[in-house]
Point group: C2
Chain length 566, copies 2
């Protein structure tokens, strides 16, 4: 009788349990073992910030099946016939003998577990800065149940008054919101000049404005020099520029690095990104070993480069592929990532898919076109909310390279649509007439996604000549000549305006009031309105009347991220 | 000097104003005239049910720009330099002279308007049944501002107690909700065996259950025989089966027919669907005449057949294409429709894109595979809500033909994703690892869309052997042998259950309790749980243990549309 296939999975957080479960569904007889260092299994780790922030109170919800059963070793044994050893560390892999050496972390006892196929899902570890004071009490990350418990306790105790979040990425921003909701005075410190570096500057700035409007402090372009403490406890931080900020709590969220020590020591190939190298089958350089999740590097589907993409959804999908192939041989493939990401930031959502303008340039695209669009997600009479999107397209091919979207509106749907368009290798011409679900409770008749594509199409043929808020700001700061033309009505102007010396001529009066414009037809003119639809129409009127240097402020006042009069 | 190009647009509701505005942006000098029969222009007609239902109170919001300016002739003149003649009927087209003959409906005066290019956007007219009593007071449609005003007045006056909606399509259902919210006792009467015929039966039934749960009555499979009245006023309706229902108001929503009289009389080609025939440039059989919106027929992008697709979003997109080509010559193209539709139904949303199973079979696809999936839109701890989807795939090519989704969850995003997948001609293998925006406030780690694709993939390779609720119901009704196996926990069973003779064995205990199953391994067994993930896993356990006739109830109890014990 043939022996059952032995599958050993190292790591039990996201990719591991998924791989094990998928393997089980492929083969009811296989011996499947998960070896997990932490006491918990199959944690919904992306949910930690929401537990800390009090969106829900029952910790077990992070560990449960949808039916409310905690995914503990008993659950895995009974429901999945999978042996799950928690609190167990894997010390080494013997690829020749096909065994892993384990240590029970409570008793210290070690043993060897044989495998036919090994799946490494060892995850990642949060980066910590190498600076003085890093050992002080009051410094944490938000990566484990232990961290989540620690921060939730701080929330519930209501003793901490001031905290800093080091790092303004996804987790940093989510943690900022969670702690702010707990009534803690929060400062986010980001070394880069902007928050959320998956966004380009102008959209990131809109998010930053929103974070500040909620009472959180934001410091960008300033690194951390030291943690300050007294009697072993954190009392503050010192920034690179010398500023000191008092705080009793610091949450460090400056990215993660893949856990590859086991793989390296076993001689598996590790890529330049620091992640374990795997092929499309999630197979490592050893055919008997697969790997998935935060510990691997992943193909970027647009650039063709390898990237480290530690996202919970990809971990699950990769785990599924690894689990299937571990049983059936290399059949399922993982196509890679387009680095789709999204996060909630108070009443805003910020999302991105594909390449930002910055990343497109870095990846060598030298002829790209971008456009910023602002409009509601659904009609005003259905309480539509604002969306501001930026689209990045390769000029020659017309292919969509990336899209970002921020605002209080339905960002997730926008990003999902762009993600599908990018995966489908759509050109702009292929999305301008997309047949999307329209009814007033869900979108405008011309959805924001399509309207953004229309703007891009108009820009590609040279009809829409846009200028970004950043470019206008630069001109104004440099005192370059620039006639700002606001095409809204006087009532709108009373409520909201740039106040940067602009001239107000409502679009409806423009054709009769052309004499009020600079009569030197070469004068640079920037047309705008609330979202720049009227700005665009006004620019076309001016061009038809001979002005030769007219630009439209992309996204209008709604996408203007700099200070304005009102 | 060359004369300005003269563009005449007949119809000013959706496609017409869009075409005119686009033409203006292409050519500041053109003479552009919109001739509109009704007193209003550019109405947000899809918003009528929400105005009637009291989602907002200001009627002008249906007629305003986002900046709050009513789109009247003055607005068109000033902001767009477009002449808009409202209350003006076009009597005929003289294609030889290139003129349209108009009549001012107030004065009766007629005149001729010359054109270089004509754009027909004459819209559609609601169907009315040819039955006795159709002239009674109290019978209306919901297609014009006049209709909306009439129904809103009824809502505000609170005099009408009972109303019927004839037709259970999109508009019928939206109207049902609007009137129900106004406190009127409502009955929806649908001649077909189900509501919302863009859905397949099992999903439509879930919507029907929800409508009933809100207190509205639903009668399906029964046509209208007569309107009953006294002294010229509606007092009730009589159905084909003789049933009489008292009511003071009847809203007829049994579809629309394209307005093509002008086009026909002018000798333009009209298609078999009844819509004006246009090519991809929205050009009619006369090169000087374009047409767009509800009055035309449209290419179905999947089947290649022509269809009548009277959707507001398509009208706008087609109008944009017609307006551009009217000025620049045939350059922009409209690729057709995949018949994406969506509607709000109380706390549910129901949407569809591409082909339903019924329509796929009608279109000649003879080897299709379908799957029903039920799961939350986001994690339970983030207050996730249920989604039930049905996916239709062509077996040989693996190409996605259509998807439907209903439930209280985020349906619009699901449908948008499937619409993009269909437009991108994705196969199932191309979506199983889609990189979509994931964070707990927005989706599960494996989004419902991807989970549905996973089920389909499992089904295509024969691993998941599904059975629909309808098939199980049929077996039970026919008293065919069928062992129903509920794999949930006893606590779940206490709260919610089919109560159709099923046996409860929790998945976690299944492997130890196989003796409790029918020992004839040919016995048909149907496994299920709440959403049938455990049902699927249970089925795999049974198959591995020799049972040869095991099926999984697709979508589990959540997708069971028939009566159940609790």
């Amino acid at each position: 009788m043939q022996q059952n296939k032995r599958i050993v999975v190292v790591g039990g957080s996201a990719a591991g349990p998924k791989a094990a479960a998928r393997a089980r569904r492929m083969d009811e007889q296989a011996d499947i073992t998960i070896i997990q260092k932490s006491p918990e299994l199959s944690m919904a780790s992306c949910g930690y910030p929401y537990y800390v922030g009090g969106f829900f109170d029952d910790r077990n919800q992070l560990l449960c099946t949808p039916a409310g059963v905690v995914r503990d070793p008993k659950f895995f044994a009974n429901a999945k016939k999978i042996t799950a050893r928690t609190g167990t560390e894997v010390l080494s892999i013997d690829r020749k003998k096909k065994t892993v050496r384990c240590r029970d972390m409570a008793s210290g006892a070690t043993d060897e577990v044989p495998y036919d196929t090994l799946i490494l899902t060892t995850g990642s570890t949060p980066n910590m800065p190498s600076i003085p004071g890093v050992e002080l009490e009051g410094i944490t990350t938000l990566q484990s149940m232990h961290d989540a418990d620690y921060l939730r306790k701080i929330r519930d105790e209501k003793k901490v008054k001031k905290a800093v979040v080091i790092g303004g990425g996804l987790i940093g921003i989510e943690t900022c919101e969670a702690l702010q909701l707990a009534g803690i005075e929060i400062t986010v410190v980001e070394m880069m000049p902007q928050l959320l570096t998956f966004l380009d500057e102008e959209l990131a700035k809109l998010v930053e404005n929103h974070v500040r409007s909620k009472g959180a402090h934001v410091i960008t372009g300033n690194g951390l020099a030291a943690f300050l403490g007294e009697k072993g406890k954190l009392t503050g931080i010192k920034l690179a520029n010398g500023t000191e900020l008092p705080c009793e709590l610091a949450v460090v969220a400056i990215g993660v690095k893949p856990n590859t020590a086991l793989a390296r020591e076993a001689g598996l190939t590790v890529g330049k990104t620091g992640g374990i190298a795997v092929d499309e089958y999630m197979q490592t350089s050893d055919p008997a070993i697969y790997a998935a999740g935060d510990c691997v590097e992943t193909l970027h589907r647009i650039t063709g480069a390898m990237v480290h993409a530690p996202y919970g959804d990809l971990a699950n999908l990769q785990g599924r592929v690894a689990g299937e192939n571990a049983i059936l041989g290399n059949r399922a493939t993982f196509p890679g990532t387009i680095q789709t990401g999204i996060c909630k930031v108070f009443d805003f959502t910020a999302g991105s898919t594909g390449l930002s303008e910055r990343n497109a340039r870095r990846a060598g695209y030298d002829d790209i076109v971008t456009v910023v669009n602002a409009s509601l997600d659904k009609p005003g009479f259905m309480s539509g909310k604002l969306l501001v999107s930026k689209l990045v397209v390769d000029r020659k091919s017309g292919k969509i390279l990336g899209a970002q979207c921020v605002g209080p509106g339905e960002v997730a749907k926008q990003i999902a649509q762009w993600a599908m368009a990018i995966m489908g290798r759509f050109t702009i011409d292929e999305v301008v007439n997309a047949d999307l679900p329209y009814a007033p409770p869900f979108s405008l008749a011309i959805d924001h996604f399509i309207a953004t594509a229309h703007l891009m199409q108009n820009k590609l043929v040279g009809r829409l000549k846009g200028i970004t808020a950043a470019e206008v700001k630069k001109k104004l700061d440099a005192k370059e000549p620039c006639f700002l033309l606001d095409l809204r009505g006087p009532d709108e102007y009373e409520v909201l305006r740039l106040g940067l010396g602009e001239t107000l001529i409502p679009l409806g009066a423009l054709r009769k009031r052309l004499a009020e414009l600079p009569q030197d037809k070469e004068t640079p003119i920037v047309c705008f309105c609330k979202i720049s639809l009227r700005g665009y129409e006004g620019a076309l009127v001016l061009e038809a009347n001979g002005w030769r240097n007219v630009r439209v402020l992309e996204g209008g006042i709604m996408a203007w991220p700099y200070p304005r009069e009102k």
